[in-house]
């Protein structure tokens, strides 16, 4: 049994370093995935954008009527929240089975497992990029200004993606070992949606908004969405996101370092 420190160091040295040296490859493979998914499709990835647009249109119409809230705040908030939510769930749900899906690669060449996680997150970022075009349209319609606040949002997005990468790798290993994880994750994501301020604003919860403090996804959404909408995200959300990143990466490096030679037998 390796020591915890030894495993973390091995995960870093044998997986993270070589993976980041092959970023160009991960980008190509992520692009290939996007390409092939829509090869014979007319709208391609824009089907997703259309889906987002319909979702925002429908929910936005109903919600602004029911709760009598200002569409100029709610619609942009909903669009950004939904697009981020898709990015999170798609990564997490796909992450819970992606090593089994990619077993052909693992079984045929010596390949860093972390590179597969990077590839998955990059693919989801490509999709997010498409969806974000819709967000920009919404922001223009509601006359939001684009300034330095977008840079802050970008920092938030990078931090969120760093978090997500660790989570995908961690869930990938656990999901490869325990096949029950995939349905479990699927079952959890749905209720979690209602506990995350996507279709509501945090302030609508009033005193109950304290429960959001314990939902990392709420913090991840806040540090990207608030700056885009020209507000400062709560300081606690930045701290929480940095905290989850540190914790997530330690866990992900540990499991990668300790179990990277076992993974192949788990997916086999």
């Amino acid at each position: 049994m390796k020591s915890i420190f030894g495993a973390v160091a091995e995960g870093w040295r044998e997986e993270v370093v070589p993976s980041f040296k092959s970023l160009e490859l991960a980008l190509l493979l992520a692009w290939n995935d996007t390409q092939t998914r829509y090869r014979r499709s007319f709208l391609g990835p824009f089907w997703l954008v259309l889906g987002t647009a319909i979702g925002v249109g429908g929910l936005g119409y109903v919600w602004t009527r029911i709760f009598d809230i200002d569409p100029a705040v709610f619609i942009p908030s909903l669009s950004i929240g939904l697009v981020l939510w898709y990015y999170f769930t798609a990564s997490i749900i796909e992450g819970s089975s992606h090593f089994s899906v990619k077993r052909d690669i693992l079984l045929n060449m010596k390949y860093p497992t972390m590179l597969l996680a990077i590839q998955l997150v990059m693919k989801q970022i490509v999709t997010f990029g498409h969806n974000f075009l819709f967000v920009i349209v919404v922001l223009i319609i509601y006359r939001y200004s684009f300034g330095l606040n977008l840079l802050v949002a970008l920092v938030g997005f990078v931090l969120v993606s760093i978090n997500l990468l660790a989570l995908v790798q961690l869930i990938g290993y656990l999901g490869a070992r325990f096949r029950d994880l995939e349905p479990l994750v699927n079952a959890i994501m749905q209720p979690l949606f209602f506990l995350t301020p996507v279709i509501f604003r945090p302030e609508q919860l009033g005193v109950n908004s304290a429960i959001l403090l314990f939902n990392p996804l709420a913090h991840w959404i806040a540090i990207v969405r608030d700056p885009i909408m020209g507000e400062a995200a709560p300081t606690i959300s930045w701290y929480a996101s940095i905290g989850t990143a540190i914790f997530g990466w330690l866990a992900c490096l540990y499991i990668t370092g300790a179990k990277r030679h076992r993974l192949i037998f788990w997916v086999n």
């Binding site: 160009e24 079984l107 045929n108 060449m109 390949y111 070992r177 029950d180 076992r262 788990w266």
Partner: protein, 236 residues
């Protein structure tokens, strides 16, 4: 210096699904204390059991044996995919593998797109991978099929493409499992010439096969396996 040395090599597979694989069983085992412990032991299969050999440069080794005798496991271990649990193994040189037909190829992408993809997966830059085009066109003779998605290829065509790509990066050590037999006679001849060419530039070639013809055609040494152990090792 290209070289492979194995000393008392042991490789074991854990088998899940009969013991502790599901989360429920793990949780149940937490609540019921040690009672289900016997159930919790992971069953392992010893696929290679104390195997020792040495392969020097210029050797073309054929692995013979029944299904499940350890040939493919040995290839994956040499490729660094499986980690031995006992003994020692040293592999010096750049390794290339053809273990499963069409592995790494994306069936939805065209032949050309797959050349870039595979090239980069084997460690080339995008530009270097592009330089493989003429060589692949020439060797595979796939012509306009290279502009078609790979899922339209026959297995023989896929073998041509994979074989050409894997050998085009000038590996020091080439590991092949069975699949060469899929190609037609013309391909066999070309593949043979190419392998000889690789051997000339100081390399090792290892192929696992059931067919004596293929082993006679490509190899100058045979290692026979039985139940994870070497039964016979002789030059050809």
């Amino acid at each position: 210096m290209t070289h492979i040395a194995a000393e008392n090599l042991v490789v074991e597979y854990p088998v899940y699904g009969h013991g502790a694989s599901s989360l429920r069983k793990q949780i149940v085992s937490l609540t019921t204390g040690g009672r289900v412990n016997t159930d919790n032991k992971i069953v392992t299969i010893r696929a290679l059991d104390g195997v020792s050999f040495e392969i020097k440069k210029g050797e073309r080794v054929g692995l013979l044996g029944h299904n499940g005798s350890g040939k493919s496991t040995l290839l994956r271990t040499l490729a660094g995919i499986y980690e031995p649990v006992g003994g020692s193994l040293s592999v010096t040189g750049r390794v290339s593998t053809i273990l499963t037909l069409g592995a790494g190829l994306d069936p939805e992408l065209t032949g050309y797109e797959n050349i870039i993809r595979m090239g980069m997966m084997m460690g080339l830059s995008r530009a270097q991978a592009k330089e493989l085009y003429p060589e692949v066109e020439d060797f595979t003779e796939l012509g306009s099929f290279l502009t078609m998605p790979v899922h339209t290829y026959s297995s023989g065509m896929m073998t041509r493409l994979t074989f050409c790509l894997v050998t085009s990066i000038q590996p020091d050590i080439l590991l092949i499992d069975e699949i060469i037999g899929v190609g037609d006679a013309a391909f066999q001849e070309k593949a043979n010439a190419r392998i000889r060419n690789i051997i000339d530039t100081s390399s090792i070639f290892v192929i696992a096969s059931h067919s004596n013809d293929i082993i006679n055609m490509y190899c100058n040494r045979v290692i026979e396996f039985e139940k994870g152990q070497i039964k016979n090792d002789h030059p050809l």
